[in-house]
């Protein structure tokens, strides 16, 4: 039965696609392809790491090339299936998305190398590496998609993979953590889906550039405040913001340490990214209305996270609270809404991805060297390995926001942006949080590293494949602490691109700006 082809050229992208534009969809596609390959080779345990680590290294290269492309040529778009936007699903890479994607890929590569010794044969049989690749497909897709329903789909992809990772090994303790994690995340995801359905009912479009245009044109008669509030709640839950942060300390200490490290680096930051995308780019005026609520939530998240960190004796739980405290700083930046505030939030998110992953790795190694994660039992780490202690100390300073490490600059940006609008209380909270975090990590260093060991330590050494990624991530925080200028200018451009999305819209709809 021959079908006469209809002429569809008016609805299709007719210009040939430049090879550079392929970089926009390659990160998730590459991860899916290699993830599927690893899943097929699930039984060949010795092959898994040999394929996964190079695959993630290629992902880092793809993201770096995409960053170079976007930094010179502005946002890049590719539409699935050749259909013109808003009907075709658009992938749009702007600076914010690419910076997050690149940092995520670096974290995943470090995690994959670190896992060479941390994940044993059993964990590999359960499919650690395929899950990691599929998680990265979800994370990269979420950072690069230009369609809000597609963002939901990538959230699901990364959520399903993270369920697999968190239960790796199926210990009862892990199942307990996984149930809390899964249940509360599913509530947030459902809320996200409901809100997106509502948004589609209002705008009749899911393309983010299209929504930004339509929201700006007909702001007065649309219930955008409802949408912005619902998104704030849904993504705030994903990001573990107060008062919906309780799932994180309940679950992050249960999986393998390297899995916690990857979660701390990747998952909550996807929530922050989605908040930036929706509240800054799509609904800026509604965010303005909500700014005091967001600032209060951010301040409470910061302080309670830091206090929680002081109150814990298990270092993995302590780090869970440190993740939450960092989310507070990003929310504070988001609440300010000025380019400095948004830039600070983006910079802090990138810093937090690197540093929190490295800290969990350090905690895992400390646990391995001293045979415990309990601060009451830990001790004598300094005498075991001076190099490891030095790396840990750098990370402790970085997470507390002390100069000259990478945590310092974004806090300065957020504090300065807060001072510019006279929000002195927020500045005080940011500084107080830095002080409290310093106390929390000073306590860790004094007890676990300085204090002589009570009993004889187990005879363990740090394998190079576990130390190298930790050292590399630590080196990154030092480099960005000492030479912040390139990254500062990138995040400032990224923040401007979010606050004034003309270039983003122009990339999706050429000629409609």
């Amino acid at each position: 039965m021959a079908v006469t082809p209809t002429d569809l050229s008016a609805a299709l992208v007719m210009t040939p696609v430049a090879p550079a534009d392929w970089l926009v969809v390659l990160p998730p596609a590459w991860c899916l392809l290699t993830g599927a390959l690893l899943l097929m080779l699930r039984k060949s345990l010795h092959l898994q790491a040999w394929l996964a680590v190079p695959a993630l290294a290629v992902l880092v290269l793809i993201d770096a090339a995409l960053l170079a492309h976007v930094a010179t040529n502005g946002p890049a778009t590719m539409v699935m299936g050749r259909w013109l936007p808003p009907f075709g699903i658009a992938f749009t890479a702007d600076l914010t998305g690419v910076l997050f994607a690149l940092a995520g890929a670096v974290v995943a590569l470090a995690g994959a190398v670190h896992a060479l010794t941390d994940i044993d044969g059993r964990g590999r049989r359960y499919g650690f590496y395929p899950f990691l690749l599929l998680l990265m497909a979800g994370v990269s897709g979420a950072f690069l998609t230009g369609d809000i329903f597609n963002l939901y789909v990538w959230f699901e992809v990364l959520l399903i993979s993270s369920f697999g990772l968190i239960t790796l090994g199926s210990e009862p303790r892990q199942i307990d953590g996984a149930i809390k994690y899964a249940f509360l995340n599913l509530i947030a995801t459902t809320l996200f889906l409901v809100t997106t359905g509502y948004l589609y009912g209002i705008f009749g479009t899911l393309n983010m550039a299209d929504i930004a245009v339509k929201a700006a044109a007909a702001r007065a008669e649309l219930p955008l405040m409802t949408l912005a509030t619902l998104y704030l709640l849904a993504f705030g839950m994903k990001a573990a913001a107060f008062p919906v942060n309780f799932w994180l300390p309940a679950s992050y200490h249960t999986p393998r340490v390297v899995v916690s490290a990857l979660f701390a680096g990747l998952l909550t930051k996807v929530g922050i990214y989605a908040l930036l995308r929706t509240l800054i780019m799509l609904f800026p005026l509604e965010r303005e209305e909500l700014s005091f609520v967001i600032a209060l939530a951010g301040a409470a998240t910061m302080i309670l996270g830091a206090l929680g960190a002081i109150g814990q004796s298990d270092i993995r739980r302590l780090l869970g609270y440190a993740v939450i405290s960092g989310i507070g700083v990003m929310l504070a930046g988001l609440s300010l809404g000025s380019p400095g505030g948004i830039g600070g939030a983006i910079f802090y998110a990138l810093h937090s991805m690197i540093v929190m992953t490295a800290l969990y790795m350090a905690a895992g190694l400390a646990g391995r060297l001293a045979g415990s994660f309990d601060l009451n039992l830990l001790g004598g780490l300094y005498t075991r390995s001076a190099l490891f202690s030095a790396l840990s100390l750098v990370l402790f300073f970085a997470v507390s926001g002390l100069p000259p490490f990478s945590g310092f600059w974004p806090k300065v940006m957020v504090a300065k942006a807060a001072m510019d609008i006279g929000a002195w209380w927020l500045v005080v909270v940011v500084l107080l949080t830095g002080f409290l975090t310093t106390i929390a990590f000073g306590r860790v260093f004094a007890l676990a590293y300085w204090r002589p060991a009570a009993d004889a330590l187990p005879d363990e050494t740090i394998p190079p494949s576990a130390l190298v990624p930790l050292a590399a991530l630590t080196a990154l925080t030092v480099v960005f602490g000492l030479f912040p200028d390139p990254l500062l200018s990138l995040v400032q451009h990224a923040a401007q691109g979010l606050a004034d999305p003309q270039a983003y819209i122009g990339s999706v709809f050429p000629g409609r700006t």
């Binding site: 040939p16 097929m40 395929p130």
Partner: protein, 139 residues
Amino acid sequence: MNTLIFRTVAPFLTALMVLFSLFVLLRGHNEPGGGFIGGLIAVSALAIFGIANGIAAVRKALWFHPMAISAFGLFIACLAGLLSMVFAVPFMTGLWVYPVILGVEIPLSTVMLFDAGVYLVVVGAITSIALALEAGDDL
């Protein structure tokens, strides 16, 4: 469900249902059907076979591990999208070839390859769930 009638009929029923699932998969391009629903029909067929003859028989009949089948489906679905890179058109653009085999023109497309990938993902994933549930019953 260990009756003689069921055990005798099940293999024929399974074969018929798998055949029908392939028909639904191919029909799905322009009419109701497609990879997802076709895959579900195939899984029902395998489930019937499993209830009648035990999961060992299903695993033997499948030859490959169900997870490997679904991974292969994901792989070819992704590959179907990436093929458009060669032709300088966006990701997942439908590309067609019309080979003439024995005097009959057979239209083949990347869309079909993608749908076959979806079919295999569904068959592999749901079968491994079904087999795990049936295995749990034996304990």
